[in-house]
């Protein structure tokens, strides 16, 4: 009963914050509501005993993705007026789409599902250990591949946002390799007592 009450509180907050993301006027408020939504889903995950994914969700989404969004929103300086939702034009389409999927899935969940309830059997290894045992053995290749995907995303983001400025002195490898010793060093015989002119 306590679980159910807690679930309803967090679920209601989650739905409200997700709606607030859509309908806030200011993009900064949207991002902050998105953070709140992720925090609420973290609580929900911890409630049903999936602590590891919950904490990872908090760290990755709130710590990285949402802050990235916040940086971009604050950096871009968008006019708020020009971004009003054009609600009237697309509402019928959206409501139709929503209604169809909602009807389908409520039908499936009520009539077709066997609806398992939460079994709180105490396992002899905790959630993190279970995930680690499977992730580093059965899914080892996928784990490595996801690392490569992240590396590619990082390289892609750097290449896309990189700016070439002519004023910055950069290393020119071609020019560097074509240089010989004559271009750089000049040997001068200095007579004693006279020095050199230039």
């Amino acid at each position: 009963m306590f679980l159910l009450a807690t679930f309803y509180i967090f679920a209601a907050f989650l739905v409200m914050t997700c709606l607030s993301v859509l309908f806030s006027k200011n993009p900064v408020n949207s991002v902050l509501f998105l953070v709140l939504a992720f925090l609420n889903s973290t609580f929900l995950f911890i409630l049903i005993g999936a602590e590891f994914v919950g904490i990872i969700l908090a760290i990755v989404y709130i710590g990285a993705v949402a802050i990235l969004f916040l940086f971009v929103v604050m950096m871009l300086d968008i006019q708020i007026n020009s971004l009003a939702l054009n609600i009237k034009r697309y509402t019928p389409l959206a409501v139709l789409f929503a209604g169809i999927i909602l009807a389908e899935i409520i039908y499936l969940s009520i009539f077709k599902s066997n609806n398992p309830s939460l079994n709180l059997i105490t396992k002899y290894e905790n959630n993190t250990e279970q995930i680690g045992n499977v992730l580093y053995t059965d899914y080892f290749l996928e784990f490595q591949l996801s690392g490569i995907v992240l590396l590619l995303a990082m390289i892609g983001a750097i290449v896309l946002t990189h700016v070439y400025k002519p004023t910055i002195k950069r290393q020119n490898i071609e020019k560097q390799n074509m240089t010989t010793a004559k271009d750089r060093v000049r040997l001068v015989k200095v007579k004693s007592g006279e020095g050199i002119d230039d």
Binding site: L4, A11, S82, I105, S117, V134
Partner: protein, 103 residues
């Protein structure tokens, strides 16, 4: 439904998925909001995976949710990079004008 069951989480994730799709449909201008709606949709997928994993007592769902998180982070980084260069070229983030990129 007197105790916490899988259907609770299923319908919750459905509602959040609907909110995300609703945002994509309603808002056809602001590119940041479109990216945020995609994040909301991925969050719904995550909730569904994790709750199914817990209620069906199978750890694979949580593994998949970690992979979804990875892809979501990569997608957000690339999407925001595209957004930044689009803003730098055009001075606005109106998606309806994006077909003029070929000019």
């Amino acid at each position: 439904m007197t105790s916490l069951s899988y259907n609770h989480f299923f319908i919750l994730s459905l509602i959040i998925f609907m909110i995300g799709c609703f945002g994509l449909f309603l808002n056809r201008r602001n590119m940041i909001l479109i990216l945020m709606c995609i994040e909301i949709i991925l969050l719904a997928a995550n909730i569904n995976f994790v709750s199914a994993s817990v209620f069906l007592n199978d750890i694979n769902g949580q593994i998949f949710s970690i992979f979804i998180l990875t892809i979501a982070a990569a997608e957000a980084a690339i999407g925001l990079a595209i957004l930044v260069i689009y803003f730098r070229n055009k001075g606005e983030i109106d998606v309806t004008q994006i077909n003029r990129l070929k000019d």
